[in-house]
Symmetry: C2
Subunit: 263 residues, 2 copies
């Protein structure tokens, strides 16, 4: 049975630009329905934090480490907020009939200067074998050097893809994929079907892989880790279902040199 890891961006299930944590109920409901419809083999879900994470982290600076009592409290509060968001996601998944189960990666994850060293994956493997759908999410995590750093959903996805030898990795983001130029500035920007290195993009003369800040980092993480993944637009109805069913013509494939999966 194939293993798919699907990441749902925080920009899809939350109101990303809200300063207060705010869920996007309608989109969350739709996304959960699409996941249920497309599920095909074993599935791990990972969701981002959106407005549940970025505002509090930027305000308190805990991603750079802990240096006072206020940051200690913010570390805990940020984790609690992520658990609340995750509870809502799991509730919606459950309504569709999927056996979703929350997994707090930071209960075992160890970071070092912002780099992930370790997540305990034995339970995740066991739950997948049972037929469950583990649901992980971006979290603030214990860092041996600086006390705390952020373990993003994007980092969890590459770690699990390699550890569990995933067959398919899908990033549902809020853009169609990766363009050769910034599509907001260039009318002739072309959606790339396939991307092998970030260098190719520089050759085209554009420094913008995409307007969303996280896209370049997302891609370089995948390429550096040797994980092949498809980036799709999770805001467009039907895309998540199609991608889960194995549709090859959508979004952009970030193609790592190593052939570790079937994409």
């Amino acid at each position: 049975m194939t293993l798919t890891i699907l990441k749902i961006g925080g920009s899809i299930i939350t109101k990303k630009n809200s300063i207060e944590p705010e869920i996007n109920h309608a989109e969350l409901k739709r996304v959960c329905r699409e996941i249920k419809e497309g599920k095909n083999g074993k599935l791990i879900l990972i969701h981002g934090a959106g407005s549940y994470g970025h505002p509090i982290v930027n305000r308190t600076g805990i991603h750079k480490g802990i240096s006072n009592e206020e940051q200690l409290k913010a570390f805990g509060e940020t984790q609690a907020l992520q658990n609340e968001l995750n509870s809502m996601v799991c509730k919606e998944l459950k309504k569709t009939g999927l056996p979703a189960i929350p997994i707090q990666a930071s209960s075992s994850a160890v970071m070092e200067k912002g780099q992930l060293l370790y997540i305990d994956t034995r339970v995740i493997k066991g739950l997948l074998d049972l037929g469950m759908v583990p649901v992980l999410y971006g979290v603030p995590a214990y860092d041996v050097e600086q006390g705390c750093s952020i373990l993003s959903g994007d980092v969890i996805i590459t770690y699990l893809a390699l550890e569990l030898n995933a067959d398919n990795v899908i990033h549902a983001s809020d853009v169609d994929g990766v363009y050769d130029k910034d599509p907001k500035k260039h009318e002739d920007a072309v959606l790339l079907k396939e991307l092998l290195t970030l260098d190719n993009l520089n050759v085209t003369g554009s420094n913008h892989v995409d307007v969303t800040g996280g896209m370049r980092k997302k891609i370089s993480q995948l390429l550096n880790a040797g994980v092949t993944a498809r980036i799709i637009n999770g805001l467009k109805e039907g895309m998540i279902t199609l991608a889960l069913k194995g549709e090859k013509g959508i979004g952009t494939i970030i193609k790592s040199g190593r052939v570790q999966n079937h994409l």
Copy 2:
């Protein structure tokens, strides 16, 4: 710096006999205040599930393992419910100013036929060194033999006490401690200051260590594991603070033969 592990029974912070999950807000608030007041050195909190756990587990039978799709869903739903209870506990703790952080033990815990094999404790140790207060809770957990079993707060407490070499272990329950006879049936029942074995109690002619079903199991787990712990009445105002401050005259000490802590 000493390490204290405090367990708050689910019968204190939830309405224990409710069929639906129902929190006891007033008691939760008071308990959190008392913890803040009494905290003394490093502290781990563990809370029980009360009406957030027992009804759904009894209804679905997941503590005996997973044998159908409905139980798979119930496993996930039970976990999500525990996370919701934990979120509320952490929120109240945060209001008192304590740097509480949720830790979902079942993200790494492995069970075998209902017995705990393993919990990853590296993160917990790291968080304690930072000055945080990890908050664990009873959870349904992955079981290598039967798919799922219950990892109770009482089992977590003995595991962590041994793994982290705790100095003080406190059980805040809904009774004053352990009596020589069932105090509801015998007016002359005496609260034991100290308990060395369960056998002693049989000698007194009483089969009832206590009216709450869990007490005998709780005690035998502590004695078998070699963990010395104080059982106090967490419903009585001030007891939790006193116990955290090291007051020796309250409740019942379950005294293991091994001297692993200062009690």
